[in-house]
């Protein structure tokens, strides 16, 4: 399946991906209206240490431990390989946040889980982090 990959070599740590992600998932048409004066809950996050930066988002694992650990059955592995979160079922136990080896599942403002769904379930239609990355550090492609 096509996944979002990050090349640390080209990641500038500008964090535009985080804002583009939050905007894409806001449902708003205007970024200012969507994000002005609000704390953002992006599904991709830039990790930064000692001059090294790279963005992390859901890897859509072959054998996702988050799906196994979900007590509410909110997480599922779709036929196309995407790990999907049904937020209407999420009870906010955050087990998935604890077990994810990449730290790719996060909490939203209500305390429920939040994760990257490749912008396939929102209005963007194509990963907004990839589209907005100024240095092509984030790519959306098929790899073996």
């Amino acid at each position: 399946m096509k996944r979002v990959y990050v090349n640390e070599k080209w990641c500038l740590g500008c964090r535009l991906c985080e804002y583009n992600c939050a905007f894409a998932n806001s449902g708003e048409k205007d970024m200012v209206k969507a994000l002005k004066g609000k704390k953002i809950y992006p599904r991709i996050r830039v990790d930064e240490h000692d001059g090294i930066t790279f963005a992390v988002s859901c890897r859509h694992c072959e054998d996702p431990i988050c799906v196994k650990s979900c007590i509410a059955g909110a997480l599922s592995k779709e036929g196309d390989g995407m790990v999907k979160l049904d937020r209407t079922k999420c009870v906010g136990c955050l087990t998935c946040v604890l077990v994810c080896p990449y730290g790719a599942v996060v909490q939203d403002e209500r305390g429920a889980a939040l994760k990257c769904e490749l912008c396939l379930t929102n209005t963007a239609g194509y990963p907004a982090c990839v589209k907005g990355c100024p240095n092509a550090a984030i790519v959306y492609e098929e790899r073996d």
């Binding site: 080209w10 740590g13 964090r15 535009l16 200012v32 994000l35 907005g132 240095n135 550090a137």
Partner: protein, 500 residues
Amino acid sequence: MPNYILPDFEVERRDDRCIRCRVCERQCANEVHSYDEENDVMLADELKCVGCHRCVALCPTRALKIVKYSGTFRENANWSNQSILEIYKQAESGGVLLSSMGTPNPYPVYFDKILINASQVTNPSIDPLREPMETRVFLGKRPQNIERDETGKLNNNLPPQLELSVPIMFSAMSYGSISYNAHESLARAATELGIYYNTGEGGLHEDFYKYGPNTIVQVASGRFGVHKGYLDVAAAIEIKMGQGAKPGIGGHLPGEKITEDVSRARMIPVGTDAISPAPHHDIYSIEDLRQLVYSLKEATEYKKPVIVKVAAVHNIAAIASGIARSGADIIAIDGFRGGTGAAPTRIRDNVGIPIELALASVDKRLRDEGIRGNVSLVVAGSIRNSADVVKAIALGADACYIGTAALIALGCHLCRTCHLGKCNWGIATQRPDLVKRLNPEIGYKRLVNLVTAWQHEIKELLGGMGINSIEALRGNRLMLRGVGLNEKELEILGIKHAGE
């Protein structure tokens, strides 16, 4: 020491749009922007802003605008703000003023006073989308006569040539003055386009030897990075006698830019200043130049053309005539509007002559002396678009070098502070966190796009004139007319006035 300097720019931030993402703050190597958490406001230290527009380009909500500083001293047509500020700077530092890129001063741009012809009624124009159009050119010495062996077959007496798919090459810019990623972008683009890039006087990084067939290596007064392998790998060798932005002086790459990699490519210790002397200490005459030309030819078994690059100065026609007799295959002439990574401001803004006049007078002189075929002519020094290329070729050039235009394609915003080494676009810097901002995967494609676009435009212009090859345009000054030029200027350019 008190500091009287005024800012060059003001940072205008539309607070109704700013979402406090702080991308501007993270991306500014000059540390203009900062965030005050307590009051939740973005702040700006305008004095540090160089106007590179990195923040403007990356601001996701277009909340930023960089505008000219509106403050002023008492208006004075003689003492401009610039003149006053330069004196403050020198009174403070006691040093030579440094500048980067080409002169911003309003000298005449002759290319903008020359118009191109087109066919109407009496001769047909050509549609380049339907008919073949040749933009390929060869650079090098032309054979003086046809030689045959005893059976009457032709002897191949063609001296080594450079083949260009389009009459454009990337100017000399050293690894050191520009970044690894900028060099990789240029090298890959040249390879894909079937043209050449030029190492400048910085040696050649080992990673780029694979682009050798599209590389021109430079031998300059500091001889940095010159060794047998360097000469052997290249397609051609350029002896740099001068540079348009700073004729008559050498170069100085500060020690901070001599990183581990740069030091290896230049063959000098890490952290030492790389100083190129003003003259070549072994060249005091055309005869001396001839010795270096032939030393380089000897070292490379006469397989590669040798280019001699000079700045356009007052006696350029006589100088070029000498070079054409020195054994050089190609003369590159760099006009005074040409760019640089750093030059003393007074030299950049006051020394040299415009490339259009230099080119026209050199081409005429070489023709008059019957030695035009000895050399190809490459011109540089602010070739801004495909029309400049076409005009240069009609004035007598074989090809053009583009430096500034190539850097702009890579993202350069002409802020002209290369000499500070903090290029926010990852071009004129060696700071690893800034160098990585230029992803060569993007960079080389932008360069390929630029030259491809110019090639299309050149074909359109040629077709309009009813010409189907660059060869038929070269030195074809009847295709040009001047507007608003005086008799002397028209005489030097060898063109008629519009309406004639």
